[in-house]
Amino acid sequence: MTGFGEELAALPMEELLRVATEAAPDTVERALAREPLDLFDFAALLSPEAGRRLEDLAQRAHALTVQRFGKTVQLYAPLYVSNECVETCTYCAFSRTNPIARKTLTPEQAVAEARLLRARGFRHLLIVSGEHPRHVSPEYLGTILRALAAETPSLSVEVQPQTEEIYREWTAAGAEGLVVYQETYDRDTYARVHLAGKKKDFDWRLATPDRGAAGGMKRLGIGALFGLSDWRQEALRLAAHARYLVRRYWRCFVTVSFPRLRPAEYADTLARHPLADADLARLVCAFRLLLPDVGVVLSTREPAQLRDGLVRLGVTQMSAGSRTEPGGYSAPEVPTGRQFEVSDERTAGEVARTIRELGFDPVWKDWEAALRG
């Protein structure tokens, strides 16, 4: 069977984009009522005409979200273990040549961070790091995972793409979820913002979720970094990727995320193709309609008021109280080494309280493997 690379190349982008920019009211109306939607219906929901139907879109998305996920939001925390990085990504503070304070946690330090997060309620942790073959080797991450798995019910990783064999080792060590954002699905843009390092290889990164699933990952998270390239094109390709993963890896739970560029030290984070708040809200809704069972993840990159509003439209997982530098939970006063500046600076407790006020249940741990080992 072919991989997503072939599907991506075969997408009728010209026709899809025409619908995404020119859909007539009737086309949008039909897309709103279809079940299931196809990619052309999804394209219609990205159109300016659908922008005028945002409230209708939101009502549909809300109803579907409640039907499939209940009134719940799962909370997770990122745990940065290292900001060492050999990549050169123009938009990221961790980029190789940036003179930020570099740090890699020891397993003991990582466990200390995890314990602080556990005390705040978190049971689901996302292990994040820069991409560095020596400081953040597969063996190092395996050690970290084993150290954390003993007391953390649910672990995901968002680190350098690896081989299927290494993913198999990591799942054996306790990882259940793999998060890898393509950053941009536009090859030209991709080449423009990834100047050096292994990350230049678009196709290796694109096939990472496939290797993860083959290596036993139960959750696959993908996303695009919005602001780098035309948002409609990114959304169409991201949707096609998510749909591909849902069909191919039907045993896995798939999530999507729409992070927008945020200010970061020494980085070029000017959004050349900005995604407006209302359009971000529309993406949340449109993905819910196309893929009713796919999780939508929202980080603290977004401001509090917007995050609260998006909960009711289709967001199913949120981080809260996040620190984006290694050791940030233990030593919050450290001034440098963050990947990006968070926007929603509320504590996890405050976020949970607000979710409850919205009529939703903040879920710290939604499930745990019945059997392990």
Binding site: R30, R34, L54, A278
Partner: protein
Amino acid sequence: MTDLLRIADREFRSRLLLGTGKFPSLPVMRDALDASGTEIVTVTLRRIDLDSPEPNLLEFVDRDRYLLLPNTSGAEDADDAVRLARLARAAGLSDWVKLEVTPDPRWLLPDPVETLAAAERLVKEGFTVLPYIGADPVLAKRLQEVGCATVMPLGAPIGSNRGLKTRDSIAIILEQAEVPVVVDAGLGAPSHAAEAMEMGADCVLVNTAISVARDPVEMARAFRLGVEAGRAAWRAGRAPERAVGEGAEASSPLTGFLRGTA
């Protein structure tokens, strides 16, 4: 606009597959195949009755026009099915096989366990495998994973002519499918075929509903039209239904929070 059905490495214009069983005569069957526009017809292997030879089916099926799809009808387990498929291939019929494992003589319902086992073996031996299955979405995924070229879920038991009794399960199979989905068995009327095609099925296989009709040739033509209508409707994107008798649910606005943000 060309809208071709692609199965494995072959393309077809027609989305109606025909079975050749139970026709009143072979000439009628030949005319029905012609009227249906089909390009794929199924055949079965049987021991030759040495005491009373019968006319040869293949003299009535133009192999330049139709792809012969041997089925494993009569197989009660995976071993039987593999044996029949090998025979068909050795005889030069085809290396495509419609995999049927039906130990249940009453409803001819397929055995999922043996079907999966046989599919895996046949794919490894280089066959293009089209398995007939109950409308089980998980089984459909498992068969795709082992390399089947299609999945063929039943709409209703073979020969029952009851239509899409498994509609909801077929909808899930369609949503998840990475290979063409052939709705096979149970379709009793052109409207059933149209319904399957409107849902997004890639093609349908019909036999009894045509061969047992009062006028099989005319019914073959009717099925052709039903399949074409359903396919066109699916491509056209049908207009949404509007609920009747349900009061609109008043709900508070969900997007007010966006006012005042960027």
